[in-house]
Structures are given as C-alpha cells and as structure tokens.
Symmetry: C2
C-alpha cells in the first residue's frame, strides 16, 4: 500500500512529434520502434558533491548526458572536466534562480546588465514566481546568452540546452527566448508538448518548426518521496518505457556534509534524496533492467549532430 508520501511518477504523455515518413528513432539510425533513453544528470556545477556523483555515473556509462549550471560556484570544475573529456555529453542547465538557503550565486552577465533578475542582495531570486513577475524578457535573453557564451569561452563543446527548475519555459515569453537561442546556436533543447502544457500551461506546438526535436516522454522523480523505494520506482518506469525518445532527469549527489548544508531547511531535493538517485543508477540493477527491456542509451550529441545540425 502506498501512502500519500509514496513515490509520484510523472509520466508525461506521448506528444505528436513524428515525421510524416520516419519515426525519430529511424531518423537517428535505430529501429522504428526502438526504445531510446537519454539518462540525464541535472545540476552539474552546483557543488563538488553533485559533480563527483554525476561524473561517476557518466564515466560508468550509466548516465548518458548531463547539464551544467554556468553561474554556480563549481562551474570551473565542470568546464575542466568537459575539456579533458571531449566525449562527455554536456549541455547547459540554464539557470535564473538561486534557491538554496545559505548558498548563493549571481548572474553571469553581471547584475547591472540584468537588474530585473536579482534581489536586493545581488543574487538571483530564490523562486520562480519572483522571476516570472519581475524578470524582463530582454534581460532574460541577455543572461541566458551570457551563460552560453561563457560556456563556449571556457571550452565546453555544448551538446544541448535545458533549464533549471524550468526557468526558461516558465512563461511563453521566456520560452520564445529559449527556442530562439537554441536555434541560433544550433543546439537541441529539452522540449515536451505535454509536460510544458501540464506544468507551465504553454502549448508549444504553435511555436515549433519541423527542425525542432521534441522528446516523446520526460520522466523525473518528484519529492516528497520515499528514498528507500527509489529503485522500485525507476525499475517500474524502465519496465514500462515506451518506444520513442525518452528522457529521465536525475539529480545525483552524495549525502555528505556539503550537500546536506546546501539543502538545509529545503524540504525537497535534499542530500539523501540525491544519494538515492545515485545509488540506483550506479547499481548493476539499472544495467540489467536496461538490457532486459532492450533500451538504448543515447546522447543529446547524437541528436545535435544527426538532426539539429544536419
């Protein structure tokens, strides 16, 4: 029996992204009905704990991709990793909030260039609502562009874009900027018709072109949860994974002093919650369930090079 605090599975239903002739699997060189999965580690550069755990999963080839928060204190650690591991699939986790209680960062563009994105302390706002109410679209574009340029300057071969806490698709104006930048830099970006409708009330279909790549399904564990049931939660998800382009967003870190302090007084997405993600995706159980279900781990780089930059 599951309590109200049991794991919540958000299954974002299949969107209508199909090429008239070919499935996305075929366009990427797989069988028409293949189950493709990007196993994606979010929040890189947030902390050394997050970086260490996520890099471990990437090197073990259990995670296939990850994305970096450019404004965060450990950005240089991930930039160095990207330079020394050119095969790693690393995109940008575009960031417009600084939501942890005692651990903060500022905009890459500099607060004078984007005054509507910072609080009176010079940090990004703690929450999306403040960003949505006060953030001017022109300054959102300035900051997101600064993050992309900073990553390029640091030598990162950026494979894709997505957005921390959905900040760049929080409303339609921001989403248009996100799409504009993805197209300008010829990068695939995380998009899903049903998720954007459900979570942000935005119908993205009218904004899409034939060139945009849209995931069929995006999955993520949401708190509150039971960390002890995480393995069962993901195993069930993988056993039921549909054919198509799937993305699972995970948050791997260690339940150590640094991560506990970052997530202090923040009931959701804590250190133990992240350790539970790490533990399952680090396990042999994960590989077994992938193999059993004939799931192909793929990268955003494949999509970028075979479709976006074709």
């Amino acid at each position: 029996m599951k309590s109200k605090y049991s794991l919540i599975i958000i299954l974002l239903l299949i969107s209508a992204c199909t090429n008239a002739q070919q499935s996305i699997q075929e366009r990427l060189g797989y069988a028409k009905d293949a189950k493709l999965l990007i196993l994606h580690t979010d929040d890189l550069a947030l902390s050394h704990s997050e970086d260490s755990a996520s890099i471990h999963l990437l090197e073990k080839q259990h995670a296939s991709s990850g994305s970096i928060q450019v404004p965060c204190p450990w950005f240089s650690e991930m930039a160095q990793y990207a330079i020394t591991h050119p095969g790693a699939d690393l995109g940008l986790h575009l960031t417009l909030t600084s939501e942890w209680k005692y651990y903060k960062w500022m905009p890459v563009a500099g607060k004078d260039k984007v005054p509507s994105l910072v609080n009176n302390k010079g940090y990004f706002y703690d929450d999306l609502d403040s960003l949505g109410k006060l953030g001017k679209p022109g300054e959102v574009e300035t900051e997101l562009r600064a993050q992309i340029e900073r990553a390029k300057q640091a030598g990162i071969n950026v494979t894709h874009l997505d957005a921390h806490m959905g900040c760049a698709f929080f409303n339609k104006e921001f989403l248009k900027i996100y799409l504009k930048l993805a197209r300008e830099y010829q990068l695939p970006c995380l998009l899903n018709v049903n998720a954007f409708k459900l979570l942000y009330g935005i119908d993205i279909k009218e904004l899409l072109t034939e060139k945009d790549v849209v995931t069929d399904n995006v999955f993520m564990a949401f708190p509150p949860n039971a960390n002890t049931e995480r393995g069962a939660y993901y195993t069930q998800m993988l056993n039921q994974l549909p054919a198509g382009l799937n993305c699972i967003l995970i948050h791997a870190a260690f339940d150590d002093a640094e991560m506990k302090a970052i997530t202090v007084d923040h009931p959701d997405y804590g250190a133990a919650w992240r350790q539970a993600d790490f533990d399952f995706f680090n396990s042999d159980d994960f590989k077994s369930v992938l193999d059993k279900n004939n799931i192909h781990l793929i990268t955003w780089k494949e999509i970028r090079d075979k479709l976006t930059r074709k």
Copy 2:
C-alpha cells in the same frame, strides 16, 4: 632536527604603538603587562567546511574572533550565524581575489562597476600580482565599500576589518583605502608596523593617527609545514607570547571532500593543513597552555567599543 619543510614561525616584532601614558592593555582595562590574544579564524564563508569548523571553535570559546569573506558562496550561512549569535565577534575578511582552481566568485559591486578587478571570466583574479598591476584604486574602494555595505545590509554587527591574503594592503594606495574605510565606519582594522614593512614594503607609521589601533604582534603558520608538528609550533608560540596586543591568524576547516576539492592542485593552505589548525585549537592542550601562560583571549569588539568608538 628540522627539515626545510619544518614549521616556519613568523614572529612580527613589536611595533612602537604605545600611548605616552598607558599601554594598550591598560587602555583596554587589563594589567599594564598583560598578554592579550585575539585568536582569529580567517576565511569564514569560503565553504561549509570552513564555517563549521570555525563556528565550533568560536562556540567553544577557543577562538575569540573571525572574519567573513563577503563575496564567497557561503556568505549567507555566516550572515545567518551572525544574526542568531549577536555575541559572536565577526569582522570582514575583505576579498579581492578568487584563488582556488575550480571554485570561484565575483565582485559584490558587480563586474561592470569594477572591471579592473576581474578577469575575462568575470571572476576576481587568481593572484595578488594581477590585482596589484591591474586593479584601479577607485574600483578597489568601490568593491570594498560594497562588501561592507552588503554585510551591514545582511544584519552583521561588524566588529573589525582585515584582508584576505593581504589584498587591501598589497600596496600603499590600497592601504590608504583600507584605512579610509576603517575610519569612516569606525572599525578597528588589522595593522602591524613590522609585518606590513616585511611583507608589503610599506611603512605604515606615516599613515597612522593616534586613533588607529595597531597590533603589537601578528602570528600565523605558513605553508609549507608539517601538520603533525602544528601543536608543538603553536605551543611554543604561546609559551613565548609577549605582553601586549597579539593576534594569531588561523584557518580552521575539516579535511573533507568539499575542502579537498576546493584546495585541489593548490599546494598551500590545503584541507589537511586546515584540519591541523582545527585540531590544535579544539584541544584541551590549547586551553592549558593559555592558562599556564596567563594569556587573556580578547575580541575585536572590545577594541572597537573601548578604543575606536570611545
């Protein structure tokens, strides 16, 4: 027998700061020949590891004072501590460098206000030489003032000023700004005649007024060192402590994953080196040697309230 890597004791000789009538001890209400000591923890807000270890020493009343790096990622942790512990003696460790390899921060004033203080990534320079060559004094003042104002805005009852890596006394122009700000905010600031002469080639006597409080001696362990000999090093220092106003600058943190990652590839001031500082000053041996030598732990707040703001 000591190797060339044995502990180096820097004994900064007694400066000629005496009131014609009274010793500084008497002016502070102690016996004329009392041995006064500010045991001072540097680098607060650098990391959770540094904060935790230093707060432990402050709460145990083994450390008597500490100073906060306002631009660092964990500033809010120390600001919250200061607000909830109004008796804690906390000053500002004015900061104009970002010297760790993969862990970085930007100016509080914003990079557009102080472009001569940042590299092409928008961070403070890695080293003092770049700061000294490229930093414009007007922008140094802008940034240091922004750090003081930010601390006040956060609710910190600032007791004193000092400077990380001596950045604010690296040359005479910067030192004048440091003194100007200390006087303007009516705060005592770390000053020592011989140390400033020895380390920075500056004769501060000509810049001082009768109102400025100058330490008689400043001590610090410098790397390279032997961590295992740290207790013997400090014990000897305390057994030989002269009468007067003494300050020992320490760097307490834990030898944990976060601190190891921050100090990676940085041969000096590493995690184990900081743990050795913590271990000695957390021990009963430290208290015993204080008592045996009749050393009085005092705070910068005493100096601020009894002398600077008299």
